[in-house]
């Protein structure tokens, strides 16, 4: 029961906001951000008093942007007052207030960036908030539409997850684009992000057939955007490069940004609509359920081995270590969530995993999908942006092998353990790459140790839960070929002793390590032999415990020997 005029006002605000974003983009493209040194006045005159005849050169763009911004501010204020005092709908009133707060903060950020001579963080925040505000205005336009209240809930399936992931990825791309324009950083991350967005769009075209119009619009815009992006990449000039820009050098980045805002608008509108159709707004789930999906214990182990690789790589840039751990942690957590998403049917059949968030129904699969894709993307992009391309590539490779090769392979072949050991051994490579920018012998030695170690470790787990795995239909080795399980366990335990001495052979560690590693290896081999003799659950559990103790001790030895 909203007024048609309110709906029209909402669309007018959204349209004006889009124009304002394009005007803001023109300011940066024309390098006119500081052509008006003061704020909120323009050359000592109040905004609306400054004569049009004096809007020359860069002032045309900067002052024009401010004039349009004040108009959007007035429209937003009207919208907020109207919804707050004239409407009952709770969501609508909240959106009105969020829009008002957003537009005020945005004006302030614009003023601050002028006053502080365009510091990149403030300019990037100004660009990011602009796009978020645009989404809020679109949301208001939707909620005020005539048929919003009448939308019938339908089963959207995975559509929510894909649409949400796409919107988040596009928004990240806009932030990275702003980072390039304002700080000359993040070009490679932006290109990687583009590949991610294109991939997501392909999934959306395939999976969201019921939303033909917006999906095809989105696909068309993405193709246009990629073309504009490639040309922009070739012709753009750094923001401080001297010399006059050509018309194309100004126009193309502006068009690229305008198309980006359009893509975000369409993607957000689609997401917003799907969430509406899929029923009520998502119920807030316990944060615990989401955290559990990221498999915190695996993430911790991955972070420890990443830090080991970083440390042995020889870097002391601890700030980089923090960023590397953050990126690897996010991507690993995201991979774990995606693994949960893909395995949700199997997990339901197994006692050990029945209580996980997805099979227990605590989290909607679409949410898990969106969360997983987003975490992997953010983690990878953070690494590419702040560390280097190699680290980002490695973490993405690990995610790919774990989620798209290992996870489905569990249902097909016992060989999954060996395949899964590859992504499991990549973290020290990530750490090493983050520290040095390349991979040396030492990195591969760490990889080999972890790769071999995972075999007895996972065979023990597989033996302990073999009945459960059988129920789930997973082709673990103890189910397919029990005798081979023991052979493999023994062989890998012996090989592990040899491999664990490699750091000593290549000069990464000294005698203390070598002696300790052999002793630890022999001890673990003894536990493994006991397991292969008795074949009991208890001895399998002992082997699991031994492997879990073995690795940290080995790490400690390696570090102690280096100090």
């Amino acid at each position: 029961m909203t007024s048609r005029w309110l709906h029209r006002l909402a669309w007018l605000t959204a349209g004006a906001t889009f124009l304002l974003i394009v005007a803001g983009a023109s300011v940066t493209s024309n390098r006119a951000g500081l052509s008006v040194p003061d704020w909120p006045n323009t050359y000592d005159q109040p905004l609306w008093r400054f004569p049009f005849a004096k809007m020359v050169g860069g002032i045309f763009y900067e002052h024009g942007h401010r004039l349009l911004a004040s108009l959007v501010g007035l429209l937003t204020a009207a919208l907020a007052l109207w919804t707050f005092f004239g409407q009952r709908d709770r969501l609508l009133r909240q959106l009105g207030l969020v829009a008002l707060a957003g537009v005020l903060l945005q004006g302030l950020l614009g003023g601050l960036t002028v006053k502080f001579l365009l510091p990149p963080p403030i300019s990037i925040a100004h660009a990011a908030l602009a796009q978020a505000f645009f989404c809020v205005t679109i949301a208001i336009a939707f909620v005020t539409s005539k048929n919003w209240a009448a939308v019938q809930p339908t089963d959207a399936g995975n559509a929510r997850g894909w649409a949400l992931a796409s919107t988040i990825a596009v928004y990240l791309q806009l932030i990275l684009g702003a980072a390039i324009r304002h700080s000359e950083r993040g070009i490679i991350a932006h290109i990687c992000g583009a590949i991610a967005v294109i991939t997501l769009t392909i999934f959306i075209v395939r999976n969201l057939r019921q939303f033909r119009g917006p999906v095809l619009t989105l696909a068309g815009l993405i193709i246009l955007q990629a073309t504009l992006g490639i040309i922009t990449l070739y012709i753009r000039q750094p923001k401080l490069a001297p010399g006059q820009l050509t018309a194309l050098q100004v126009l193309l980045p502006t068009l690229h940004l305008a198309t980006g805002a359009m893509i975000l608008g369409v993607s957000f509108a689609l997401t917003f609509k799907i969430f509406r159709q899929a029923g009520a707004a998502p119920q807030p789930q316990s944060i615990r359920a989401y955290v559990d999906m990221t498999k915190p214990r695996i993430v911790t182990m991955v972070l420890v081995t990443t830090a080991l690789g970083f440390f042995l790589g020889g870097s002391h840039a601890w700030g980089n270590l923090a960023i590397a751990l953050l990126g690897v942690g996010l991507a690993t957590g995201g991979s774990a969530v995606l693994n949960n998403y893909l395995d949700r049917d199997v997990d339901l059949k197994m006692a050990r995993t029945r209580e996980r968030a997805l099979p227990a129904g605590l989290v909607a699969p679409a949410h898990a999908l969106a969360l997983g894709v987003t975490l992997v993307l953010v983690g990878t992009l953070a690494l590419v942006w702040a560390i280097n391309l190699l680290t980002g590539f490695l973490v993405l490779l690990a995610a790919f092998l774990y989620v798209l090769v290992y996870t489905p392979m569990k249902r097909v072949s016992w060989f999954n353990t060996t395949v899964g050991a590859i992504p499991g051994a990549i973290p020290p490579l990530c750490g090493w790459a983050a520290a040095t920018g390349h991979l040396d012998t030492g990195a591969w030695v760490l990889f080999a140790i972890l790769f071999v170690w995972q075999h007895p470790h996972f065979y023990a787990i597989a033996w302990m839960f073999k009945d459960d795995y059988r129920n789930g239909g997973l082709k673990m080795l103890p189910i397919v070929d029990p005798a081979a399980t023991f052979r493999h366990t023994l062989v890998y335990s012996v090989v592990l002793i040899g491999i664990s001495v490699l750091p000593f052979c290549v000069g990464m560690a000294g005698h203390i390590y070598a002696i300790g590693a052999v002793l630890l290896g022999v001890w673990m081999l003894a536990v493994a032999i006991a397991f292969t003799r008795t074949k009991t659950f208890a001895d399998a559990k002992r082997l699991l415990k031994a492997s879990v103790i073995y690795l940290p001790l080995l790490v400690v030895l390696m570090i102690l020997d280096r100090l």
């Binding site: 006119a32 401080l240 972070l303 440390f311 002391h316 400690v556 102690l560």
Partner: protein, 246 residues
């Protein structure tokens, strides 16, 4: 386990840092400036193909366009008719020991016809710089200081003047006008008077230098820098040439 690892890392940082040796205190008394008698004089040559000059497009501000009778060439690379290079900042980079009080006469950066005049000049730390608008249009003066604080001044009215001082040597500090994106100027800030900028003759002269061995640098905005080491006896005049190629 994790805690232990973090603890070890902390330990590693602690052991990795060598103990810092105290640095020697700076000498207390600076030697008084010596009025020298030696001179470095010379010219800056340009060799190679002369690039085709480009033109500045001033249409964005009608005043600027009308301030010039003819088209205005781009000033990034100005080659004189005698084959020398204009707007090269030449200064003693290393080798001076004395301190030199800054001149009280200000340097002037004028905005005339929507161009900075001069485009390139030198200035001593502590010497005032007058920034003037001689145009009947609005200018902003945006100093992209790296070692000196950056600033952005508005000069909307003809005849406006503002005075600025710089506290740190900086070669070069760039000025730009964001209203008129073609406007660029460079200021070479040094802490002595031995600097010069080449004009339409392409020559320079650094006089009253004390005897000594100096590294002299010539800077050009597009062509980079060239350096020469020159040893001077008291009263000696040495002629040097710097050659830039594109």
């Amino acid at each position: 386990m994790k805690t232990l690892f973090v603890g070890l890392l902390v330990l590693a940082v602690g052991c990795g840092k060598p103990a810092e040796t105290p640095t020697a205190p700076p000498p207390l008394a600076e030697p008084a400036p010596v009025a020298g008698t030696a001179t470095i004089a010379g010219k800056v040559l340009f060799t190679g193909d002369v690039p085709k000059p480009t033109l500045i497009k001033m249409a964005a501000d009608p005043y600027c366009a009308s301030a010039h009778d003819a088209t205005v060439p781009n000033e990034e690379l100005l080659i004189n008719t005698n084959g020398t290079l204009r707007n090269v900042f030449v200064y003693v980079r290393d080798g001076l020991t004395g301190t030199y009080p800054p001149p009280t006469t200000p340097a002037v950066l004028d905005q005339a016809g929507c161009l900075y005049r001069p485009r390139v000049q030198g200035l001593q730390v502590g010497q005032p710089l007058i920034i003037r608008n001689s145009d009947d249009t609005l200018h902003n003066v945006h100093a992209l200081g790296d070692k000196n604080p950056a600033f952005n001044l508005g000069q909307p009215v003809r005849g406006m003047e503002q005075k600025k001082m710089f506290t740190q040597p900086e070669v070069m500090l760039r000025f730009k006008c964001d209203v008129h994106p073609w406007m660029t100027a460079y200021l070479g800030i040094v802490n002595h008077p031995f600097h010069a900028t080449t004009g339409d003759g392409g020559t320079f002269s650094l006089s009253a230098l004390p005897a000594g061995k100096y590294v002299v640098e010539a800077w050009h905005e597009k062509l980079g820098t060239r350096t020469q080491t020159i040893e001077l006896a008291a009263g000696e005049t040495k002629t040097v040439e710097f050659t830039f190629t594109p």
